[in-house]
Symmetry: C2
Subunit: 253 residues, 2 copies
DNA sequence: CTTTCCTGTCTTGTATGCAAGATAGCCAGA
DNA sequence: TCTGGCTATCTTGCATACAAGACAGGAAAG
């Protein structure tokens, strides 16, 4: 039995609900999050909704436009690049630091990859989006380091928002293949290789984005008026995503 | 001219003030942060103080004990280990991903290391603590990736809290030496070596901690009653800090 | 038809008030 | 002296009230 009223729920539910909504691609970037609506929806006052929004803001998930409203972030092309770069840095660093893959870990990843395969067969795109992001979180969980898990979860949420904005087609098979390769390297105990594969995988996904289409509708106008671009974290000195050979081949593992 | 009233200041000042107070070791772990006191201090109402506290809480800087108060976090030994592990992962991953050290970058780091030397000569411990942490943030800034900079800034703040809790002596010369080595490797364009040195450096600092003394005063009682330890992110599968040869030699560079 | 301005409505920003738990200190009783 | 309990006070938790900016829509002027 399920109340239509979601009250009685504990403190962090608003935050978690929104994040998991994003992780499963049920909430689109730019979605308006009205304090009043959320308040009535969750059966609390605006105060608590605001607290959740503030937390989500520091996590880079939502932003507020003063006296206009809260919105799920719409990462710019520059921010998208920075997110992928951060993920490459952290995930590769994490894999390189690993020494063993425990049997539990192996089982967990194996089960996860099977879920991916099942969802692919079923064509369940939302679930697939969730699983594709969750794979990386699972790897972080193997490390047992809660700090890194939290960081990667938030970055994954942003990644999903990015793909909803800039990803024309969803290359699920390709991603699944990348995950399998990483898993294989881990099973072989070759974590350096796993790290490299992880970088390649993120490069592939990033290169599957069309970062020229959507950035902001004003970009052309903005540049023709020679106004400064929005907020540009320069990434010049970091490694660019390599021109990796993208093999479209579907390989089940 | 300086108002005793710090009102009129902009939104994020409370948050930033506290963080920079921690980064410069002026605020100790466990410090009580009363909403009322901060409110009068900053000339605002409790509402805005609370917002700042919530943000700091999601950043891992403060925590709230329900209806007792807000406190600057006192990381447990396990959390301390997790923080250092996260820093090793991220900083090594970052250095490995770098390709060039620009001339500005070289100058910035060089200037920083000179500041460290000056502060060491002056014996200004608070400033030294700040600079020792800031070095790592400077490196992150070189990457131009704002996401990584923010993450490392918060981790550095936590690191400083950890050293205030667990560090008996302050091996400034040793840290400075480590920074110099990293800088030299970067200048030589050997970022892989820089990453390794960074890991070694963090290992050194971590091993300079006495993680058995302070954890919580109840740990003995707790274990003798066989209660579960507080909140333990297991780090078993991650590389342990290596038994690196700690050379106490002071080397100016 | 276009432009400008005005006003009503909706949004967040901020302060404040009250509820309720936690704590310290005191007092009484053994 | 020690123990138990009561109360005054301080803390955060949460809701609400009001302020003030943003915006849409319509009316009036050109």
């Amino acid at each position: 039995m399920q109340d239509s009223q979601t009250s009685e729920t504990t403190q962090k539910t608003i935050e978690e609900t929104i994040v998991s909504g994003i992780l499963s691609a049920k909430i689109r970037p730019g979605t308006r999050l009205s304090e009043n609506q959320l308040a009535t929806l969750f059966g609390v006052s605006r105060t608590r909704v605001r607290e959740a929004m503030m937390r989500l803001e520091t996590r880079g998930i939502v932003h507020v436009s003063p006296r206009r409203g809260w919105f799920v972030v719409e990462p710019s092309a520059e921010e998208a690049i920075a997110v992928y770069e951060a993920r490459r840095v952290i995930e590769a660093g994490l894999l390189r630091s690993m020494r063993v893959l425990t049997d539990e870990g192996r089982k967990a990843l194996d089960a996860h990859l099977n879920e991916e395969k099942t969802a692919m067969a079923a064509g369940d795109r939302q679930r697939l989006t969730y699983l594709m992001g969750d794979f990386h979180i699972r790897i972080a969980e193997l490390s047992g380091n809660a700090i890194i898990v939290d960081i990667l979860r938030d970055l994954t949420a942003r990644t999903i928002l990015i793909s909803m904005l800039y990803q024309s087609e969803f290359h699920a098979a390709q991603s699944h293949d990348g995950h399998c390769r990483i898993f294989e390297a881990m099973q072989a105990g070759d974590f350096v290789r796993a790290a490299e594969l992880s970088v390649d995988h993120l490069d592939e996904v990033e290169m599957g984005l069309d970062l020229t289409t959507r950035p902001d509708p004003l970009s052309e106008l903005r540049s023709s008026l020679s106004l400064p671009p929005k907020t540009v974290p320069s990434v010049s000195q970091l490694s660019d995503p390599k021109n990796h050979n993208i093999k479209g081949a579907i390989k089940t593992c």
